[in-house]
């Protein structure tokens, strides 16, 4: 009971956030909530199966761009639904083609996917529609964006918790450990991976759609920023990609570090991020939560 109560209370407190912080603080809250959502959605698929997706921003940017294109044509709710459908369709195509094969092919494809989508959209806008930059004029306040993102984040984590208890979750964990055993146990590898991947992708797309009004002016080069994919992965890894709260635990501090780095070292921050990433891969490969757990159990062993 407390497992549900505590997070709900926390959620309530966070929802009250805009009342007490400044505009700058609200911006930070939105950023943190966005990355908690992105990292958790990423981990939903990649954390368990170890199929590393480097395509986060391909979906995030698609969501943002969908809003940019449709925001004057359809009501906001319909735009969000469209974004989700498009993200899901993209994930289906990518998943159907690459998830039946070895993990490395999926990673390679995801690596270039954002660049591909960006180029295709650019080409289309330049040659067909003739408008490269688009404006988003939506009557949505910053607070509403925050609350939507908070809700999406909460749904993501709740969904992950539910999946963890379900057959899908068990299947994902088995796949992550040994695909041969998974197959021989009766798990349909392709279908399970596809379901998780599409779920994850839809959330990533919605996150992009929700935050897009903050951009006001949207261009492919802006919304398909590779740093988003990069940060998502390192945040999930740092906290622990296969733990429920791992991604959130990694996202909040790293987001703040990133904000501080990019304001104070606008030219050199990629170097620090790269070093940090490599550091995480080498020193905390299973995430902080796992490391903390082994530390505690080692102390218990020693104390016996």
């Amino acid at each position: 009971m407390i497992r549900i109560l505590l997070p709900l209370i926390g959620l309530g407190l966070l929802a009250l956030g805009p009342m007490v912080v400044s505009d700058y603080g609200l911006g930070l809250l939105i950023g943190a909530a966005t990355y908690v959502t992105l990292a958790s959605a990423w981990a939903l698929f990649s954390g368990q199966t170890h199929y590393i997706s480097l395509a986060t921003v391909a979906f995030y940017g698609t969501g943002a761009y969908t809003v940019a294109v449709l925001n004057e044509a359809l009501p906001y709710g319909a735009v969000l639904i469209c974004a989700a459908l498009i993200g899901g369709a993209m994930a289906l195509v990518v998943g159907l083609s690459t998830l039946r094969l070895r993990g490395v092919y999926f990673v390679i494809f995801s690596f270039g996917l954002a660049e591909l989508v960006r180029q295709v959209i650019t080409w289309y806008e330049v040659n067909v529609t003739g408008t490269l930059g688009r404006y988003i004029f939506l009557d949505i306040t910053t607070r509403q964006i925050y609350w939507q993102m908070l809700a999406l984040g909460a749904v993501t984590i709740a969904l992950t918790a539910w999946i963890n208890r379900s057959r899908l979750g068990l299947a994902l964990r088995v796949i992550g450990d040994d695909e041969t055993v998974a197959t021989h146990s009766g798990i349909n590898l392709a279908r399970v991976k596809l379901v998780a991947f599409v779920l994850s992708a839809v959330i990533l797309t919605l996150a992009g759609a929700i935050t897009s009004p903050r951009y006001v002016y949207v261009e492919p080069a802006i919304v398909f920023n590779p740093t988003v994919s990069f940060l998502t992965v390192i945040m999930a890894l740092l906290g622990g990609a296969n733990r429920l709260w791992g991604p959130a635990l990694g996202a909040v501090p790293l987001f703040l570090v990133f904000e501080w780095l990019s304001s104070n070292f606008p030219d050199t921050y990629p170097i620090f991020l790269g070093l940090l990433f490599i550091g995480v891969v080498f020193l905390v490969p299973n995430g902080l939560i796992s490391s903390a757990e082994s530390l505690v159990s080692r102390k218990k062993e020693a104390g016996r």
Binding site: L170, R173, D177, A182, H184, S185, G186, I187, N188
Partner: protein, 242 residues
């Protein structure tokens, strides 16, 4: 119609025919040994039956249902369970979960308490009862083998494929292992076991099939097979070249 039919199965890797037109059958409730020197294609044949590898040609049928051409998970759900030559346990799952997965995702599709019950029963059968919450990665080698066997049993399979399950055991463990397999067979389980340990085969299998260089060279009563000059020269080399 036999229970398991292997009908001119062929597996070709480039220029190598690892399984070269092998045909034999296994009746329901039988326990059959699959013998042969190293490199004769025994494990490849098991891989064809379990769907780990697709057959190049030929057919494999279980209970009349064609297995060749199906995905591995479909074959598993048809009732085929196996162990592996190099033990494959899942390090991030608990013992119960390791065993439970075949009960959950196999033919019977159990879930929740029911699945746990099946898993616990399987753990009990192999002698790992009461260790349900141990970490799978910490088990000794023989216990890991037992775990893998429990996982196969939890599938409540029609046929069990053992790939050198008795390998690497000391004499005590070996006799325990043989007793366990005998108990399973006496419970009605159909078993096809790849094995090198002749004493175990003599003790367990009334009938053996022998492969050499991808081909079937004997399919007869165990005593007769082991005295068959072709079988002997396959293992030891000689006039009939291996």
């Amino acid at each position: 119609m036999s229970f398991l039919e292997i009908d001119r199965a062929v597996k070709q890797f480039g220029g190598l025919r690892a399984v070269d037109g092998v045909s034999f059958t296994v009746e329901r409730g039988e326990i059959v040994g699959l013998l042969g020197p190293n490199g004769s294609g025994k494990t490849t044949l098991i891989n064809l039956v379990s769907g780990a590898l697709p057959a190049t040609s030929g057919a494999i049928r279980l209970n009349g249902q064609r297995l060749t051409g199906l995905r591995g998970d479909q074959i598993a759900r048809a009732g085929v369970a196996r162990t592996f030559q190099l033990v494959r346990i899942l390090p991030s799952l608990s013992l119960t979960e390791n065993v439970m997965i075949t009960a959950v995702f196999g033919r019977k599709a159990h879930w929740g308490a029911e699945a746990r019950r099946v898993a616990d029963h399987a753990l009990e059968m192999v002698g790992l009862a009461g260790r349900a919450n141990a970490v799978a990665g910490d088990l000794t080698y023989i216990d890991q083998k037992r775990l893998e066997l429990a996982r196969a049993l939890a599938a409540e399979p029609e046929i069990l494929l053992l790939d050198e399950w008795l390998a690497g055991l000391n004499p005590t463990e070996l006799s325990e292992g043989v007793a366990l397999i005998r108990k399973l067979h006496e419970g009605g389980l159909t078993i096809l076991m790849v094995e090198h340990i002749i004493d175990a085969v003599r003790a367990l299998c009334p009938r053996v099939v022998v492969m050499n260089s991808g081909q079937l060279i004997a399919d007869e009563e165990t005593g007769a097979a082991l005295a068959d000059p072709r079988v002997i020269s396959a293992y030891l080399g000689g006039d009939v070249d291996a």
